[in-house]
Symmetry: D2
Subunit: 374 residues, 4 copies
């Protein structure tokens, strides 16, 4: 089964050249569900491209009977960010035009003036499938109206244009999988939303961050949030529904590098998840242990107490306990003192999940993060 | 009357050097009110430094009887941003460490878990002055508790450290005046909050933007928002109070440049405002006409429909009407076509209040903004 | 007469998108001379694109009898630089990959191990035209051998790849015209090489810089330098030849902006020059006054003696004499002193030809330049 | 023995803050030779700071009898570069003001109009020590005259100001040791000048690059070059002198990180070198094997043939032979083709000495370098 590929014009540059998105589309003979997978939304987070490359190879070897529903893949999904450099560094984490984090620009239907209570009342007695279809239609109508209301003379900012293109490819999906990595150095983990924890296990990750607070228009949040709100409204009306709509962000290791173990973990997890969702006709690996979740608001971050050079920092993945020396800070004070080394000890116990990529720091720069109590 | 100056350590750099803030403090013989004035929060917005320079000269010539209360001035209030360069450009609009807009990092008391309803109930029968003092105390206690809760080993991000220092200088002020300019090219205007429009007139600006929606942790918003919420709660309880607390952002022309007319407008407006507030014992200029306000959510923005070179763009301050050609866009398409010039016409009428600084654009870059119907 | 356009692949980006050059080629019915005109080699120097746009329109209206020889035009000749942004600034003056100034990367035949003395000896008795053809052939052979010697596995740096493409379009031209502007703010002027001053006059510029020292692999230098060396060698052999080979850089005003007067000056000058060269069958405007030249090593540059804010700087084009106040510097010292304003006076007399674009400076940043004694 | 420390004002910033250099000076009871050691000239090359920290500790434990001569240490020798960030990356390889590589700005006495032939003639019959003193005096006089000729109104660029400060600390040294690392990822090696190879061995490095061509005003070159020229002139006069003047650049591993093995190698090598030079009264380790040198013009560099993601790149330190697969390049072409993986094979045999830090590449970005035939 070969994918259908499609090129979409994304941005005409000052020079007249055009940046494009390329989508790879596999469609099974049967099934109606859709999974949408993208990678490299942040410029330096490249691991997911290797995952999508392997997935394209893998799906190409399947025949159309093995796939139920359709798979959309968008590698290199942010050319503007991917190609950006400062020296040899990938600095495409923020838009060069408005400074926005590329993953905080997305459109959340629930932020529109919409009467969800009325929708619940109108749909209370329909089947889950009917409700899901009706709500999706409302989202798509609102989205299309937004597109239509764009004034061609005023135009729109690139951030808004860009998000509209990604939404138009993905809003009607059942499952969204956004392949990130740390922009610095990190272990593998998964972002999960409340009420979807059980399905996270099929990705076979050891650790996850539970999005217990809305962090602001990330791709995964903007997609799922309206559905989570709808579910809560139905619960208030006494009806407990979980729609067949999910949203995942996989964090596959470190930035600017492609670790093979992280690639393998991504491929294996996605195939197993799609099998569990019965989109692939393959054996499902039953997770031996469940993913350990840390609430987002409970992550512990360490910042440089002053400028200097970091020495002997513990690496990502290290288990720490109270009073462990996390790192040393060598500084050369601009007074009469000799240079000194300061030891910074942990006030947390848990796993170091990410560490910064640069061992020189000004005061207040990021040093490392800890998943506490795992 | 000479100011008392004070140096505050702000950031120890990797090299061991220390960036400092310098405050200039004038204190009258009488009076208890405090005005806090800062400039250059964004790296390229330097006009306010010239205003503060002139204000320091002006206040220095006054004697202590003419001043009631105290004036705090902090020019160059963001050394990290002020000193930052990419080539010869001032690119310090966003923190180099976390990408945050330097004017979206501030702390808003009302975002804490605080029971304002209880405060209103407890204070309902006190005088306005007592209530103001009590509420300020609550803000300061909460702020100081936040400072105390900082774990020394974990440290805090530079953005948070920085905002804490500015808050510690300004939270107890009656009036906050934040001197910005456009980062691009713009006319002079003022930001004003709902219910404070009348006092805006004393700044003698032609145009203002009314902050009719909370835009997110800007310095002026974070300061005033709790008080505005408190006022609304009191109105719900039947008591109509306007506290003697105000917050202003002056936009003084263009970035990376110091236009003398903008400097003069800033000086004149601030002195007149302080006179109207009876902090200065000077004649008040009664505004001949009131400031014309545009609601923030009603600003009109134009973005490049594709990449190219901007030609014959109308400048800031131009009055436009429907169908006026705002600018031309020269592009060199990467196909067989000859280069073309496209005309972009206005779909708004009003005043062009800002225009971008760079006549090359990629698709989606900012071109200009319009205050409609003024 | 319509130009023949051609697209050349320049750079495949990480995302898979391809940046291209587009050439516009007009060919007369008669004539063998070739002029090569490019613009926007530095990312922010965009004026030349508007000049080339007008030239394409102008040449298109001519018929093939009016043009003798051929005209190659390459607007937007450096897409990598043109599209680069940091915030809304065009920062493409240096390659993001190796930090090299885009106009210091070019290949100069005379830097190869070539025996020019032998060439002179072998060609001493040939006609000027024969010698010119023979020398050009040697240059082209050497250049093509360099291309052939590139090892496909090792590849080459983007700077080298890029220069090779521009050379392959232009090495066989008689006249090269490189359209720059200041990267900051400047008056119009022209760069000229020794022995070619008389022809400079046809461009109708008031001022010029005479390249009396080799500055290092700029596009104009790298092209003309071997010919100038050859001419000197012939003079040493008693034969005084000036080959029909010239190289010009036009500096058309300021960066990131398109001043119409600079555009007009560029168009008028180029058309007049080509007419004087008899490539265009048009009346030649005889220059009323000759271009005033300043030797490159005699330019006067002013740098900030310390950090601060520039006030009341004289603008580009101002005539200054000794002791004129060039600018003021407002600084806020980080000690007990009050802010101060320092006046910086001219120690030169002449014309201010460029001034920096940013009125905040750290110590040692550029302030302005003077053409002395003009 | 405690060092004497000294603070030198380097740059007053726009904000009024001042960046300083701090020097650490150890002086023995006897001896007249001077070694000058600096680190972190490029912003991201931080390893040398850790070396200097350890050297300060080590020398502090010595008593004044053990040291002959004096040791100057300047860690963090470029605060402007050290503190610079784009995101969390150290991008201080080039000056933000003029784009110059911080290690290509230095002053070379031999580039001045000086008559070295006359000096040789005048000094031909003096002792080596007398000649060395006389030549040093000439250099210092010329340098001080340059400083005196700076016009205070014009000022000088920061690059020139900065180099003057480093020269004023180091021009009179016998030995200069400049502690760099790769800006990307690299093995340890040493830069050496022709005629000084034997002394390189005392640093105990496996590999070295022999500076067989002048590369342009690097710190080590600018210091030693006049002496090397002088030596050649004396040889032409039949006198074979090697002055007791040397210049070394140590490349200690990778950028933005501090590898302990590289630190140890730096410390051990420097102490052994100073012992061999009899500045330290310690046992000299006799090198078991000599440093293997590669001529600078013989290094082999690999660049990306097109954009994409690097997979399975061999790491720094790997020994390669012809046809070894150096890396794979995964690309997603923007046409109908499926993504592909290309294998790039070595056309060299030797040691991979550095590899780039970023696994995404645009066409022409650096991939890796090879020391051939070692």
């Amino acid at each position: 089964m070969n994918p259908i590929t499609k090129l979409i014009n994304l941005q005409t540059l000052a020079s007249g050249d055009i940046l494009q998105l390329k989508t790879y589309h596999f469609k099974g003979k049967t099934g109606t569900k859709k999974v949408y997978i993208q990678s490299n939304l942040h410029g330096g987070e490249i691991v997911g491209n290797a995952v999508i490359y392997e997935l394209i190879k893998f799906f190409s070897q399947l025949n159309e009977d093995t796939l139920h529903g359709e798979i959309f893949l968008v590698p290199m999904c942010n050319p503007t960010a991917v190609n950006q450099r400062n020296l040899f560094f990938s600095t495409g984490r923020f838009s060069p035009y408005d400074g926005l984090n590329w993953n905080r620009i997305f459109w959340d239907y629930s932020h529109e003036k919409v009467n969800i209570n009325k929708f619940v009342k109108d749909n209370l007695n329909l089947t889950k499938e009917e409700i899901q279809q009706n709500f999706l239609n409302q989202i798509l109508i609102k989205f299309n109206n937004k597109l239509k209301s764009i004034n061609q003379n005023r135009g729109i900012s690139f951030s808004e244009h860009y998000r509209n293109i990604l939404h138009s490819l993905s809003l009607d999906a059942n499952y969204i999988i956004d392949l990130h990595s740390s922009s610095v150095k990190a272990i593998d983990y998964i972002y999960c939303f409340d009420s979807r924890q059980k399905n996270a296990d099929y990705f076979l990750f050891d650790y996850g961050i539970l999005m217990n607070k809305y962090d602001g228009n990330a791709f995964d949040e903007a997609f799922l949030n309206p559905w989570l709100i709808l579910e809560k409204k139905f619960i208030q009306q006494g009806r407990n529904i979980t729609f067949d709509v999910e949203s995942w962000t996989l964090e596959l290791g470190s930035g600017m590098t492609v670790n093979q173990a992280s690639v393998n973990k991504g491929i294996k997890g996605i195939i197993n998840y799609l099998s569990a969702k019965k989109m692939l006709n393959l054996d499902v690996i039953i997770p031996q242990k469940t993913t350990q979740f840390v609430n987002k608001n409970n992550l512990k971050h360490y910042y440089a107490p002053q400028g200097g050079i970091i020495r002997h920092r513990l690496s990502e993945g290290t288990k720490v306990t109270y009073e462990d020396v996390l790192y040393q800070l060598l500084s050369f004070p601009k007074n009469g003192d000799l240079p000194i080394i300061m030891e910074i000890k942990s006030v947390d116990e848990g796993i170091i999940y990410d560490v910064s990529i640069n061992d020189t720091v000004n005061q207040g720069e990021y040093i490392l993060g800890i998943f506490p109590h795992v």
